[in-house]
């Protein structure tokens, strides 16, 4: 599976778990709200019922009092209660509309109540009491019995109402128990789901991290291995996700790099062999010719015409030049491929060595080191080659009877800069580039034995090391060659 898909599905799964948790909590809150509504209805029913009961009692007492005393004000409470009871009954009917048992009870209560009204209350109400004699004639004959019946019916009404209330209370208790249970359940489900989400999230994150980081670390190890020159590395990855793709690309890159580098190494070996063959096979016949000429001169020099001797000298000059060219070419080809041994190189001693290896400087010319040169931990040979070529050029091409060649250095923070300055013929700006090309020389070859390899070698050494070479010169005003050399 692709890593992006894996991440997507993981997050989706966790979100799903959280959604379920939220849904469960939402349902629970709905239930609580329903219960609150039920409670409010229920308490309303209880309240109305109580009032109805109380009203009925008042009505009975009012009636009885009226019948006994004939006081009209006692009828007033009866009358207001009967009006209120009608309202209460219709309200209770609305409140219990969703509860068939209660509604049924209510209907029964209503019927009993109505019959009480019709049978007892209305006749009693209709009696015109004699204010002078409590024992009124208009009272029914079996008055005592009548009152007892009335009282009984009223008791039935009270009883029915009590039952209604009891049912209501029982309902409430039941509902409360259910709600409590569901609250408990919701709590458990919420905690479980949240816990599960966290665990799943952490597990997925850990797996993903391990899955990815281990492979990334493998690739980092591979890249480091390449960095330190081991190109024969491959990382194994059987997967089919983005990282596997990256791994395959890296493997391909490393393989290509390895192939190219072994090709390069092979080419270098071939070039070495080529240089070796050139040095031996090209030099041998030249030396042979030189030998034969020297034998002629040794054995027959005295009998040679002057012209022949002169021509022989010309041949020897050309042989010398060819040998120099071959040597220059070899040196150029080998730049950067010698053994790279680092050592402490004292530049002051190195310049002394250079001057000793060169032919003695002609009278009138002075070569001087201007400041104390540094000691650098570096490869000696390239520095030797650079100074040898720069100094020998300055000496060789100097065109005035007297002159000075100065060598000095400047210390920059990360590198040194070395200068070889002369007051010789100088070089025009137009030739700055050309003099660094191989076999380019500004002098006619016949008038001057120069191969045109020296500056090309210097340029190659410095280019290989990413160092800079600069020339500052004008015709007739001498030249300053400078180059940089990294400290470490």
């Amino acid at each position: 599976m692709k890593i992006s898909n894996l991440i997507f599905f993981s997050i989706f799964f966790i979100l799903l778990l959280f959604s379920i948790t939220t849904y469960v909590n939402y349902t629970q809150s709905e239930e609580v709200r329903d219960n609150a509504a039920f409670l409010s209805t229920s308490s309303e029913i209880v309240k109305q019922t109580n009032r109805f009961q109380r009203n009925t009692l008042y009505m009975e007492r009012g009636l009885r009092g009226y019948v006994l005393t004939g006081e009209d004000y006692l009828l007033q409470s009866y009358d207001s209660a009967i009006i209120e009871n009608d309202v209460l009954l219709s309200e209770l009917a609305t409140l219990t509309v969703n509860n068939p048992t209660q509604l049924q009870k209510l209907v029964k209560v209503k019927a009993v109540y109505n019959s009480w009204i019709n049978k007892f209350a209305n006749p009693l109400r209709a009696i015109k009491p004699d204010t002078n004699n409590a024992r009124n004639n208009s009272l029914p004959a079996n008055y005592q019995q009548f009152l007892r019946d009335e009282e009984n019916l009223n008791k039935i009404i009270q009883k029915e109402f009590r039952e209604l209330l009891n049912v209501e209370y029982a309902n409430r208790a039941k509902r409360s128990a259910i709600l409590q249970k569901s609250e408990q359940q919701t709590k458990v489900i919420s905690i479980l789901l949240t816990g599960l989400s966290i665990v799943v999230g952490v597990v997925i994150a850990l797996l993903l991290a391990r899955h990815i980081s281990k492979r990334i670390l493998n690739m980092v190890a591979m890249a480091n291995s390449i960095r330190y020159g081991n190109y024969k590395v491959q990382v194994e990855d059987e997967g089919d996700d983005e990282l596997s793709e990256l791994t395959r690309s890296l493997n391909h890159m490393a393989k290509t790099l390895e192939e190219n580098i072994s090709l390069l190494q092979r080419k270098n070996v071939e070039l070495d062999q080529f240089a070796h063959v050139v040095s031996h096979d090209l030099k041998a016949p030249l030396r042979g010719i030189g030998n034969v000429i020297s034998w002629i001169e040794e054995d027959h020099g005295y009998e040679l015409p002057e012209k022949v001797s002169e021509y022989l000298q010309l041949i020897k000059g050309r042989i010398n030049r060819s040998e120099n060219l071959i040597q220059g070419l070899l040196t150029y080809a080998r730049v950067g491929r010698e053994e790279q041994v680092k050592e402490d190189v004292d530049l002051n001693l190195l310049i002394t060595d250079v001057l000793e290896s060169l032919p003695p400087v002609r009278t009138g010319l002075v070569v001087r080191v201007e400041n104390l040169l540094p000691t650098i931990y570096t490869n000696r040979l390239p520095l030797l080659q650079i100074f040898t070529n720069l100094i020998s050029n300055a000496v060789k091409y100097h065109d005035k009877p007297e002159g000075k060649i100065s060598i000095y250095s400047k210390d920059h923070s990360s590198h040194y800069q070395f200068f070889v300055e002369d007051d010789g013929p100088g070089i025009g700006k137009g030739y700055y580039k050309k003099i660094f090309e191989i076999f380019q020389t500004l002098q006619e070859r016949d008038s001057f034995e120069s191969t045109g390899v020296g500056l090309a070698i210097i340029k190659k050494i410095l280019d290989d090391r990413k160092e800079q070479i600069n020339i500052n010169s004008e015709p007739g005003k001498g030249a300053v060659f400078s180059f940089t050399w990294t400290k470490f």
Binding site: H276, S279, H280, K283, A284, R287, G288, N291, V292, W295
Partner: protein, 139 residues
């Protein structure tokens, strides 16, 4: 003065002449046996009945780069052949390469001379002195 037998294994005629001219200046009596490569040199050695025969070389001067069998291969053959393995050998070559010198020195050579073989060539002078010493010891 005793005649010294010198085996020269060299394919370049000019070099052979050059060596002869140098030897002529050394004030010794010598006989030069020239082989143009390792194979010819082996044939030459084989033509001597034994090491005490008057024509068996006292000293060998061997070039490295030669056709068919080069100097290093020839050295390897004589060093692994019982009756020839003590033959004093000098390598004379145009190659100043470290690899060639090291390869030659493995065969226990008496000197490594970079051409030209001249009395004013520093690498030749030591070799000449050694050669003269070796030849005088034969006397």
């Amino acid at each position: 003065m005793k005649v010294i037998n010198i085996l020269l294994v060299e394919d370049d005629e000019l070099d052979t002449i050059d060596i002869k001219r140098s030897l002529d200046k050394m004030n010794i009596l010598y006989k030069l046996h020239v082989a143009k490569n390792g194979e010819e040199a082996i044939a030459l050695l084989k033509s001597c009945p034994d090491t005490s025969s008057p024509t068996f070389p006292n000293i060998a001067i061997i070039d490295i780069n030669m056709p068919r069998m080069n100097g290093l291969e020839f050295l390897s053959v004589i060093r692994s052949t019982e009756e020839w393995k003590n033959l004093k050998s000098f390598v004379l070559t145009t190659s100043a390469e470290k690899v060639d010198r090291e390869a030659a020195e493995k065969f226990g050579i008496s000197g490594y001379i970079v051409k030209p073989l001249k009395l004013n060539n520093p690498s030749s002078i030591d070799a000449f002195n050694l050669m003269i010493d070796l030849m005088n010891m034969k006397d």
